[in-house]
């Protein structure tokens, strides 16, 4: 469910709660009003009943017939008002209580009627009237009291329910809010984790169940970005290779010039001495030309091999042979830069499972950087040795160049970071970093300004039973 929908739903639930409570409060209010209306009527009735009892007392004391008339008038008035207020009384006390009240009133009225017929009160009749009157007023009183109590109860329970509802709504709002924000934070963390791996150069699509909400869309977007980045990384790899190629070309041009010169000199001498040369000499001359052509072919092949875009093809390799291959590419560049090379390769190193071509690219890049760091010549050390843990191999490329200032060191593997001004793309080391990382390896740097820089590449050893997944 989308976060938007969740929020709407939580609001709807809380809103429904509020409406329900409002409706309940409204109902209670109506009930209280009805009861109060009855209490009002009951008070009037009670007053009438009291007046009746007063007249009744007068009659007994003074035997005044007028008092009986008064009572009769009061009874009929009360009957009328009871009848008129029926629709207010029934909802409050129910029909049964009303009927009982009416029957009590009737009994009182009958007792009065009987007294009237006989003309004067007897002892027996007197007590009958008194009993009916007492019963009437007591019953009326008790109903009124009961209703007062009920009103009180209703108000109290409304109060309780309102307080309870307040807490319930507060709790539900907090709970739902917390749940939703928890979900959002959790997903954001997930995305943060995923994007972190992307920032480290792992352009793998994010796996797992994709939530069907906004975060799912974000993940989809990140995945397509990842794909695009992986695609771009390939392009950068290739363009960086072409950039190294430019630097290598200067060395290679020199390398090609020598066999070219040899062929040219053989041809000139051959023409000059043609008549003096025997058949054997001529064949020997041409054999030399052929050998020199082969030299050129090798140089060109090496260069083409390096420049061609290639799919990663990891194989079990001896790291020293990869280093040797690299040296043939860079040796001339090193020579023309007035740099002495010292190569110290350890024999019998464990094999590595690498794409030789990519590792070669990293080494060419490191050597190129070293050469560029030593414009006035210097010394370049290239070495291989077992890694510290014993289950890896280490290659070091060390120069005696100008070094990297400490404030730049943390950034040198960042894309587009360059200290070479317009001369650098700032991609060489970031591409190298990406390649080594893809090989589950590590690339480290140590540098001291004015002393030199050492790059160390560590690649895990390859054991036949343990396939190293290279993507």
């Amino acid at each position: 469910m989308k976060i938007e929908h969740k929020l709407v739903l939580s609001n709807v639930i809380n809103g429904a709660f509020l409406i329900l409570i409002g409706f309940f409060a409204f109902q209670n209010m109506n009930l209280v009003l009805t009861k109060l209306r009855f209490v009002e009527i009951a008070d009037d009735l009670n007053a009438s009943f009291l007046e009746m009892r007063l007249s009744e007392k007068n009659f007994f004391l003074y035997h005044d017939k007028k008092a009986l008339n008064e009572i009769r008038e009061k009874i009929s008035g009360t009957m009328k008002s009871l009848d008129a207020a029926k629709k207010d009384i029934i909802p409050a006390i129910g029909e049964a209580d009303l009927q009982k009240l009416e029957s009590n009133l009737k009994a009182y009225s009958d007792a009065i009627g009987e007294t009237e017929a006989t003309g004067h009160p007897f002892q027996e009749l007197e007590s009958k009237i008194r009993a009916a009157g007492r019963k009437l007023s007591e019953y009326s009183d008790s109903i009124t009291q009961l209703e007062r109590k009920r009103v009180n109860d209703i108000i109290m329970s409304s109060k309780r329910i309102l307080i309870f509802s307040f807490w319930a709504i507060l709790a539900s709002a907090l709970l739902i809010g917390h749940f939703i924000s928890q979900k959002i934070v959790q997903s954001l963390r997930e995305i943060e984790k995923m994007t972190k791996s992307i920032s480290e150069g792992n352009f793998h699509p994010l796996d797992g169940v994709r939530p069907r909400d906004e975060l799912g869309s974000v993940i989809t977007a990140i995945n397509s970005m990842s794909e695009e980045l992986a695609h771009r990384e390939e392009q950068i790899l290739q363009s960086k290779k072409l950039a190294s190629l430019g630097i290598l070309t200067a060395g290679v041009a020199h390398e090609i010039t020598n066999p070219l010169n040899n062929i040219s000199m053989i041809a000139q001498t051959y023409a000059e001495l043609y008549d003096k040369l025997g058949e054997k000499d001529r064949i020997e001359f041409m054999g030399k030309v052929d050998a020199e052509t082969e030299r050129i072919r090798q140089i060109v092949k090496n260069l083409l091999d390096f420049s061609k875009p290639k799919d990663a093809n990891p194989k079990e390799e001896d790291i020293n042979s990869v280093i040797h291959k690299t040296l043939t590419l860079v040796q001339n560049m090193i020579d023309v830069s007035n740099i002495d090379t010292m190569v110290n390769l350890t024999d019998g190193l464990p094999h590595v499972f690498v794409d030789a071509h990519q590792i070669q690219q990293v080494l060419v890049n490191l050597v190129t950087n070293a050469v560029q760091a030593m414009p006035n010549g210097g010394r370049l050390f290239i070495a291989s040795r077992p890694g510290k843990g014993g289950d890896s191999v280490e290659i070091t490329v060390m120069d005696t160049g100008r070094g990297i200032p400490p404030e730049f060191l943390p950034h040198i593997f960042d894309p587009f970071f360059s200290t070479k001004g317009e001369g650098g793309t700032g991609l060489g080391l970031s591409v190298s970093y990406g390649i080594i990382k893809n090989h589950r390896g590590e690339i480290r740097v140590e540098s001291k300004v004015g002393v030199g820089t050492t790059f160390t590449v560590e690649i895990p050893a390859h054991y036949k039973n343990k396939e190293i997944n290279n993507e």
Partner: protein, 125 residues
């Protein structure tokens, strides 16, 4: 025009071989070396009129040969050849009083012409 001694120093064996073959046709005495150390040692034993040296070599390079020869054997002409044709190298060589500077591939006729001029100069002097 005989008895002129010419030394060729180049780490490419074919350069020495071909130069020797061709220059001997003109009657020069030619000795070739693949690097500078034995060549400089040989100079101590024998006077050479012309030294043709490669610019870029392992160990002692062409510039050092030029400086040593100019210092110790001022009468000897130095001609430099190089596969690494750059202006800085040429200027540096000319400052070191090189007689001529040829980028590879070398035209043997031009090289011979340069040698002839150098020898004419020295014999005139």
């Amino acid at each position: 025009m005989s008895n002129y001694r010419i030394m060729v120093i180049d780490d490419e064996k074919i350069v020495g071989d071909m130069a020797k073959l061709s220059l001997e046709q003109d009657g020069y005495l030619v000795e070739t070396f693949l690097n500078a150390e034995p060549a400089l040692a040989r100079l101590k034993e024998e006077k050479f009129h012309v030294v043709v040296t490669d610019y870029k070599m392992k160990g002692i390079d062409g510039m050092e040969v030029l400086r040593t020869v100019k210092k110790q054997y001022p009468g000897t002409t130095v001609i430099m050849i190089t596969a690494f044709a750059n202006l800085d190298a040429a200027i540096e060589a000319l400052r070191g009083d090189v007689h001529d500077f040829f980028p590879k591939p070398v035209k043997i006729k031009e090289l011979k012409e340069s040698i002839r001029r150098a020898l004419a100069k020295t014999s005139a002097a």
